[in-house]
């Protein structure tokens, strides 16, 4: 069977049910693609071939026995290496956890397992999900499948590149300030940052707790709807997951956009945004208008302050969350000899964390320290309120917002590595939705003259993921 690895979830499921191919063949096709292509991309940090083939065989047996199979069963998935997978190394791509094997599954992994998960491997990320390019990984850089000299975006770069290069059918990532949407846009795939609390984060290493979300990558809006249906919902192990009903997300697909009010936030098309990117996104919006949507320009005046808010609040929360990595309970024992307990912490953390993590922990420590707390942390939390008010106001007038994901397409490897602030600017258009906890779906919108993918995002009010999928599915027909 030719190129089974290129199928979408929907196509794979149909083929499996109609017995056109087995899960074993489908899984083998993905593993073969990993062997053939991943040497040049580095999307995976570990490949779980044995477990994947065993899972596929078990699926095939159950299907042959006439069992009703759930939506994602038997379909190969790549998991960002920050989700705990029982018995399988979970490194967060940090020297600190290079050999860490978690004893239990994250909630979402349990849910996928109950749904017949076939995991082909764990995917690369910026250390502890801190970065926008997957260059800050102790396993090396993930290359963009469209141009190996460019980044795949980050921090979930491995999960996005794995799909774009057809090495698995779907994948999971995390998005704190843009870590799903940015790589999805750079690699030309679909990726959804859900409403804060929509998907349980239990068992996923925390980065910034008031911002962190978990979400899917896929090759179509229908795939995103399928995955979301399995992973979304209340979890007793994560008290930030509210008891909000999980709708049938596929029911939102292909409903058209007649009468849907779309806002174009002018700040997302302004200074710093490349003309080509803005044009590709506006062309897509023009298509939606022709399909019956009502388009108007809106304003989110606080947009330009979002990066500053994020790079105060996130490091503050990160520095607290990473306190647990002390080389005693978790993390590597230092190579150097320690004089006393405090010296042991210094050495374990000095050796175990990479540069970007050290920078962020120290920014967090600084902004939370006495004397600076009010000027930085408290101020940022207040401006965050004003960003939320921007969204609340604008969603009184429009149903969704459509905007570029990133001001520019994938940049060259190494280009921004020594200039943290320039790197942070890549998140300028994804952070505001994270600040407000609203969902945003990244969709492929077109290509640059140089052939690089350009993505757009569809932002909706909290718990209205369905609206993002509705608009996205119309654009998909283009």
């Amino acid at each position: 069977m030719a190129e089974l690895n290129k199928l979408t979830i929907g196509e794979a499921r149909a083929g499996l049910r109609e017995k056109k191919f087995s899960s074993l063949e489908l899984t083998q096709a993905c593993l073969d693609a990993i062997s053939a292509r991943d040497g040049g991309i580095s999307a995976f940090v570990s490949v779980t071939e044995k477990e994947a083939l065993a899972g596929a065989r078990s699926f095939d047996k159950k299907l042959a026995g006439g069992e009703e199979m759930p939506a994602l069963a038997g379909i190969p998935v790549g998991i960002k290496d920050i989700f705990n997978t029982a018995g399988v190394k979970t490194t967060c791509c940090s020297p600190m956890l290079k050999d860490f094997v978690p004893p239990y599954d994250a909630t979402v992994i349990s849910r996928l397992r109950e749904n017949g998960m076939v995991m082909v491997g764990k995917t690369n990320l910026d250390e502890f999900a801190c970065g926008g390019s997957t260059e800050h990984s102790c396993f090396g850089v993930t290359k963009n499948p469209y141009d190996p000299e460019r980044v795949a975006g980050g921090s979930s770069g491995g999960s996005a590149a794995a799909i774009a290069a057809d090495m698995c059918i779907y994948s999971l990532g995390t998005d704190t300030g843009g870590s799903i949407r940015l790589p999805a846009s750079f690699c030309g795939v679909y990726g959804m940052k859900v409403t804060y609390g929509r998907v349980s984060r239990s068992g996923v290493t925390s980065m910034a707790s008031s911002w962190d979300t978990i979400g899917p990558f896929g090759k179509s809006t229908a795939d995103i709807a399928d995955i979301l249906g399995v992973i979304a919902g209340r979890d007793e192990m994560d008290s930030t997951t509210p008891d909000v009903e999980v709708p049938d997300y596929s029911s939102f697909l292909n409903k058209g956009v007649k009468g849907v009010k779309i806002g174009l936030p002018k700040e997302y098309f302004g200074e710093g945004v490349e003309d080509e990117t803005a044009k590709v996104v506006k062309d897509a919006v023009f298509y939606l208008e022709k399909a019956g949507a009502i388009v108007s320009e809106v304003s989110l005046p606080m947009t330009k302050y979002a990066i500053a808010v994020y790079y105060i609040s996130m490091p503050a929360e990160l520095s607290a969350n990473l306190e647990r990595f002390d080389g005693i309970r978790y993390g590597k024992k230092p190579v150097a000899n320690a004089d006393d307990l405090v010296d042991y912490y210094f050495k374990a953390r000095g050796e175990g964390f990479g540069d970007e993590i050290k920078r962020r922990i120290m920014i967090g420590t600084y902004v939370l320290s006495a004397g600076y707390y009010d000027a930085y942390y408290k101020k940022a939390q207040k401006v965050r309120t004003k960003i939320i008010q921007d969204f609340n106001k604008v969603f009184e007038k429009v149903d969704v917002l459509v905007a570029p994901v990133s001001p520019f397409p994938a940049f060259k490897i190494g280009e921004k590595l020594d200039d943290p602030l320039a790197m942070y600017m890549a998140d300028a258009l994804t952070i505001p939705a994270s600040a407000a906890g609203v969902p945003s779906l990244a969709c492929p919108a077109g290509k640059s003259a140089g052939g690089l993918p350009i993505g757009l995002q569809i932002i909706a009010p909290q718990f209205e993921e369905g609206r993002c999928l509705q608009i996205g599915s119309v654009l998909e027909q283009r």
Partner: protein, 96 residues
């Protein structure tokens, strides 16, 4: 501007050992980032409440019962690279 002395102090608070080269590099980079944060001074936040969480949840309580958890004590202790003795992690051999 973050001086090298301040940089060393912050690293000490964060329990991260830095080399002299790192102190120089990070104090420059972090100064740039912190200077950028001054942009927030432009925003009038008089009377604005702080945001600590975004979905309006209030004091989420669990049921008052023992949950068996996802793994046993021994399994969690095995997460440590240090020896386990009498159900506790032994730090002493790691310190000279």
């Amino acid at each position: 501007m973050l001086s090298e002395k301040e940089m060393r102090h912050v690293a000490k608070l964060a329990r991260i050992e830095l080399t002299d080269v790192e102190v120089g590099k990070f104090s420059g980079q972090l100064s740039g980032v912190l200077d950028y944060m001054d942009i927030l001074k432009e925003v009038d936040t008089e009377g604005v409440e702080e945001t600590n969480q975004v979905t309006g949840l209030k004091t989420v309580l669990g049921k008052d019962r023992v949950v068996s958890g996802r793994c046993k004590r021994e399994e969690l202790l095995k997460c440590s690279e240090l020896p386990v003795d009498s159900d506790q992690i032994r730090v002493l051999p790691a310190i000279k």
